[in-house]
Structure formats: C-alpha cells, structure tokens
C-alpha cells in the first residue's frame, strides 16, 4: 500500500514537520524568514542564495520533509518524482522580472519565470530524475493530487513521490509537502499514515494543519 511517510508545512512564519512545530520566527519579513529557516536547520547550499523566493520556499520544505525521513541510497534516481501545485505559478518573479525589463532585463530573474524551475532546483539538489509535473490550480486539489501521485506509484512509474502545494505571491505564501512512498513499511514512532481511499480527506486534514490519520488508528 502507498503511504504518506512524512509531511512538512511552512506557513504563517512557522515550520511544521509531521504536524509538530519545529521552527518559528514571527518577526522577520518573508525573505528574512526564509533565510532564518535556512540557518536554523544548518543547511549549506550556496545555490540557495541565487533562487527566487518561490524556489527557496519549495526547496526548504523539501529539505525539512526529507530530513531523517528519507534514505536516498534506498532508491534509484529515476524512481523518485515530484508533483507540485500552486495558484500563482511564478507570478511573484514574473512581476519582478517585468519591472527589471524596464531598465536592463535581469537574466537571474528571468530563469525563474517558470514554476517548474522549482522542480528543477529540487532535482538538481538531490539528483532525482523521475517524473516531474506542475499543476496550476486556484486551490489545493487534494483529490487530483491523490489520483495523480497514486497513479504514478501504482503504474510503477515511481517508487517515491514528493509532492503537494508551494504557492507564493508578495508576502502571502504556503508550502505543504508530502513524502509518499510505495509499499510503506512500519516506521518507528508511528509517523507513517495510510494512503488509501481515505487519502483525500487525510491529505486535506494535514494540509489544513490538523492531525492526520495515523497507522495506529
């Protein structure tokens, strides 16, 4: 059975891993908050500083999602994929690029004027080479997400899928990512949640920051 083995939510200046608050910084603005998350978790990746805010947010959420929850060595690069959704595409950077083009267009901003560039950043970091897809949707469509990721796993296209919602425009943002694995074995500490017919409701619960259904229930 496919299962959710971890979740990470970054919203309202707080970071939650598997439903537990792991970091909070109420005082910083968005770029300052993203930097303090980077520093708090002791991350060291110079490329981070070249990214736009959307990629930084998605990249940080994946780092925290995978930390202590995912063993890269257990999986082939081609069998780990990424399924993301958001409402505002890369609009945050599109607008900044549009501004810059009035003077000298910025190559470094231009590179980020596509939302799937975030998938590229995550793949480059971890050398994932599986299927990648980005959906634009006004709201997080848990039903579509479950069907799509479930399809990829059931058809053996992927063994592991990292996916969810990463949206950002100006100071509004939210990342809610799930680590979904095929044939999940019981995880110590009971963090693994079933990913079955109830998955849509379960995913929606976790997305809202409520406690999801655990394996023990």
């Amino acid at each position: 059975m496919n299962g959710i083995t971890a979740s990470c939510i970054i919203a309202d200046h707080a970071v939650r891993k598997n439903g537990k608050l792991v970091f909070e910084d109420r005082h910083a603005d968005l770029p300052g908050f993203l930097l303090s998350v980077y520093q708090h978790f002791g991350l060291n990746y110079p490329r981070f500083f070249k990214m736009d805010n959307l990629s930084k947010l998605g990249w940080l959420a994946v780092e925290i999602l995978l930390k202590d929850s995912f063993r890269k060595a257990d999986h082939e690069a081609g069998q780990v994929g990424i399924v993301l959704m958001n409402a505002h595409s890369s609009l945050d950077t599109d607008l900044k690029y549009f501004e810059s083009a009035k003077d000298i267009p910025s190559p470094s901003l231009f590179v980020y004027t596509l939302p799937n560039i975030m998938i590229g950043e995550i793949c480059i970091r971890h050398q994932f080479k599986g299927e990648g897809v980005f959906f634009i949707s006004e709201e997080f469509d848990a039903g579509h997400f479950v069907r799509y990721t479930g399809g990829l796993l059931d058809a053996d296209v992927l063994q592991v899928c990292i996916g969810g919602w990463v949206d950002l425009l100006d100071s509004e943002y939210k990342a809610a990512l799930f680590l979904i694995e095929k044939e999940v074995l019981p995880v110590e500490g009971g963090q693994s949640r079933p990913f079955d017919v109830l998955a849509k409701e379960n995913i929606e619960k976790i997305f809202r920051g409520e406690k999801g259904r655990t394996k023990e229930e």
Binding site: A101, S106, K129
Partner: protein, 442 residues
Amino acid sequence: MGWKNRPTQELTKRGIDEKRNGGEEEWKKIRVVVRTETGKYKMSKQINSGVFVAGLGVISAIGNDIGETLAAFRSGRPGMGPVSHLDTVHRQIPVAEVKLSNEELALRADDSRGVSRTALLSMIAARAALEDAAIKNQSSLRTGFVSANTVGGMDKSERFLQDFFVDSGRGRLREVVRHECGSITEWVADRLAIRDHITTISTACSSSANALFYGARLIRHGLLDLVVAGGTDALTKFTLNGFNTLMILDPQFCRPFDEDRAGLNLGEGAGYVVLVSERVAESVEVYCRLSGFCNANDAYHQTASSPEGTGSFLAMKGALERGGLQPSAIDYINLHGTGTQNNDIAEATAIKRVFDPRYPPMSSTKSFTGHTLGASGGIEAVFSVLSIRHGIVYPNLRFSKPMNGFSFVPETRFLENQEIRHVLSNSFGFGGNCSSLIFSKL
C-alpha cells in the same frame, strides 16, 4: 522522387534478413500482445521493429524546400540577416528568418490567412514530407502526427497584447485561440487529415528530436504504421527577448565550435520526416533507417549543460548502443552546436568522451539556419538524411580558431562523394534535456 536511394524491388524481405545477420539490435523481431475485452489475449503477427524514413520536408532561412536548401549549403550561403518580418525593437540583432511574409506563407499553406506563423511553417514542411513519401494507400494505414514546438501561437498572442495592454476591453480574441502549443499541431493534423494519433512535444531545443524518438517507438511497438514526426517554431518577441535577456545572442553571425564564439543567432522554420514501419517500407521507397535514439538528462542547471557534458554523453552513448554501433561507425555528426560558450564546450567534452581518438567529420548547420529551437531537431534530421542520401557533409561556417583543450575541429568545407553510412544528430535543450538520433544507410 529524385533523391530516393533505393528502388522498391531491392527492399525485399530477403534483403532485410541478410542485413539482420549483421547482428544489429534494431532488426530483432518483436511481437505485440494485447489483452482484449473478453480478457483473452490477441497476438499480432510477428513484426519487425525497424523504423524507416520515407519522406522529408523542410523550410528554414536557407530555403523553402529541399532543393533550395541543398543549393544554399553547396554555395555556403547562410540564412542570417537583419530583421525583416519580425516586429521587434531589437533590430540590430541578426536573425535567420524564413524569407517569406505571413501572407506568402499562407498562400503556400492552403491559403490560410490569420493563422500563426508557427502553424504555417509546420503545414508547409509536414505536407512536403508526405508528398515526398508519396505513399499511395495512406488512408488505410494507422497514421500519426507527432509535432514539436516551443512557442505555439505566441506571435499572434503578442499582437493581441499590443491592444489588450492599452485597454483590457480591446484585442481580437481570435488571435489567442491558438496560443497553446498543442493547438498548432491539431490545426495542421486536421489539414493533413491525420487522425489516428496526434500529439505535441515541447522539451525546449530537443523537442523535435524527441518527436522522432517518440514516433519511432510508436512504430516499433506496432501501434502505428506511419508517423509524420518533426517540429516547427516561428521567431517571436518572446524568444528573441528571452534569449537576449540570457545574454547568449551573438550580435554578429554565430560561430559554433570556435574558441571565440559569442552566442547563438535565433532562427525559424520547420522540418519533418515521414517514418514508416518495416511492413510499409516493403512497398514504398525509403531513404534510410532511424537506427538509434536516446534521451538523457543532466540534472545540472535550468539553462546550462554540465561542464562534463553528462547528458550529451549519455544521449550519444545510448543512441549508439540502441543502434548496435561502435563510435567508429559514425561518418558524420550533425552537432547541436548553438555557438554559446556553454553548449559548445559541453558538447565537445561529451564528443571527446565518446569518440577520442578517432573523430568523424562534424559540423553545426546552425551556422546556416540559426537556432530554430523546437524545430531544430526536425530540420537537422532532414539534413542528416540528406547527408546519407547524397553522400555530403555540410560546412561549419565562420570557424577559425579551435577550442582550447580539444584536438578536433569542425568541417569547414562542403564535402561531396563521401561514403556516409551512419549520421549522428544531436539536440540538447534547456532543462538538461539531451537527445541523439542515428540515421543509417540501408
């Protein structure tokens, strides 16, 4: 048709069997098993997995058909020049435009005015490929259209936006109806009356190489008998401004594989091949076989290749393996060769890894056509097939200084009367998407 290299009679079953004894992977027989509605299985006749090229069609800055294209290569006449059709403020940047206005293109493409330039170019080249293939019983074959592009109907959308920006109540909506890449393919497929399988591939600069790759797989697996595969792209503000922002446009004519190269020139056009199954190939004239293809990814950077050329290396190596060929079998490499610092060093590094110490002649035909983006793999597939057909190697224009650290240089002369058995064609795209195709003489 003047440039077919084999009369039908020679392509007999016996001839193919003899070739298969040469041990080439591609000639292996496969069987397709399909589960039917009753839950039982239906087995196809044993089919051969060879994929053949039966027709060619091309339009680019150096010619509106194959004859004009070959004449331009022969006389070393590139297609770049000052902007004449594209509506842009960047008039100092050289581009390789197709030398026809939208109205002139429309007259050639079924008198279809008001249609995106991308679709008009596609229509002209794809129809030319089908006419060249001259397959009499096409309506009885399972036929597909796999067409690549990266700009869709952006040229029309840009016109729409001029009015829309001023007043959001203005702008003709008709101009954005075919904005999306897939709608270009559908418009052309309708006019070519192709219905069995229609799809669009958009993977940046490797798009149409991947269209050939996918078309070949559809045939190999017995799903289609004939596929018109290739791609199209028109010049737009969107692409010119985008590449200009990335600072990789040469303000002069581009110099691929030269130490002093300073970027690429954008071009436009369309190129298609008609791919047919071995069964169809038995009853029509064909040029050559598509014997190898491979797609790989760098996972390195959004708009740059890795310095080691990992993706390019894996694509070439994989295509050779698929074709059951040693590097020494390749007689000509049609380079991706954009003329950017990054692409050419990565591609050269990968070529060194695959071919050192024996290098076949190689050249970038983008020194003639400019970089036609989503069309380049299709256009260069046509050039590769013509290289086999006529025994020619195209010159790499404006090359003077070898790249540091490499012992090989591109061919600068137009070579004729060559024995060209296998041609490797490279197409590497943004996002690290790298594809190589191999065409082989029968």
